[in-house]
């Protein structure tokens, strides 16, 4: 085998790996977008009264709320649970926190490079509309945006009025996922 053949083989291998990696990366974003289309249909079934309307037969999650941020053209279906698999399809509602739009503090987590990318542009005072399965719509206002350390940050919850905490990774432009910092947006109905 000549040196030239080896080099051609190496170039072909690198090209193959490169295309595979690009495909893997692109699929993550395509999946995030496509899933939201399917989730809109599942949400419509939820509004018609179907409990735990799964977006596809083998799904281990289902829509619990619809989140809209008109100023940024955002319309997302929130799923139950915050596992990595769930967050690949949409923002996840933390089990144990309040139901979005109801009294109490609801906590919703999302990926900073897909569904929650818009949080980078959210400003204090922006309106967030949360729709529940009972069709009740709550209008909240962004009160604060901040960066916290996930190892020590503690959110004290509010039970008297509807509140929403949106959490994503920080910094937004980091290549590698993970890291201890989180970007937190707090919104409250009392800001109206």
């Amino acid at each position: 085998m000549t040196r030239r053949t080896l080099l051609i083989g190496a170039a072909a291998l690198l090209a193959g790996v490169g295309l595979w990696q690009l495909g893997q990366g692109a699929w993550i974003y395509v999946k995030a977008r496509l899933a939201q289309r399917l989730l809109q249909r599942a949400w419509a079934r939820t509004l018609r009264g179907e409990p735990e309307a799964r977006p596809w037969p083998w799904a281990d999650t289902w829509p619990v709320a619809r989140l809209q941020v008109p100023a940024h053209g955002v319309d997302l279906i929130v799923l139950t649970g915050v596992s990595g698999r769930t967050l690949a399809f949409g923002p996840g509602h933390a089990p144990g926190s309040a139901v979005p739009g109801a009294h109490g503090t609801a906590i919703v987590t999302g990926h900073r490079d897909t569904h929650f990318r818009f949080l980078e542009r959210v400003q204090q005072g922006d309106a967030i509309i949360v729709e529940g399965p009972d069709r009740r719509r709550s209008r909240l206002r962004v009160q604060e945006t901040s960066v916290v350390d996930s190892r020590t940050a503690v959110i004290r919850t509010e039970d008297r009025s509807a509140g929403l905490v949106l959490v994503t990774c920080y910094p937004f432009d980091a290549v590698r996922p993970g890291g201890p910092l989180r970007y937190v947006v707090t919104a409250s109905a009392s800001g109206e």
Partner: protein, 114 residues
Amino acid sequence: MFPLIQTEVAAKHNARWQRRRSQRNGDGLAEIDVGNPLGHDVGAKPAGELEADASESRGLSHALKTNLPHGWDYTAVFGLGQGATEGPVHLALGLIALLLAAGLGTAVIRAMKA
């Protein structure tokens, strides 16, 4: 509203973020006081106290009762690696591999012509 307690490291990142946003928005608030960037809602605690908070949140149930809703798993919300995908890593690796392949291919073609 929902007071957040955070470390000095996060507070620095937060101050930098708020300052960058102010500059980008051109709202004339570039010279904000980085010592207390978030006003009354976010408390900066002494390092010792923060360490105590962190250990309580991780290990002791009574700390969860104090700060979080009953039955709420702290790590389920703030667990590491849940706020971002591997997408950028795949795209960066793919781009690097393709560039290397293109470079290698060009070198082989030049060698063949020579």
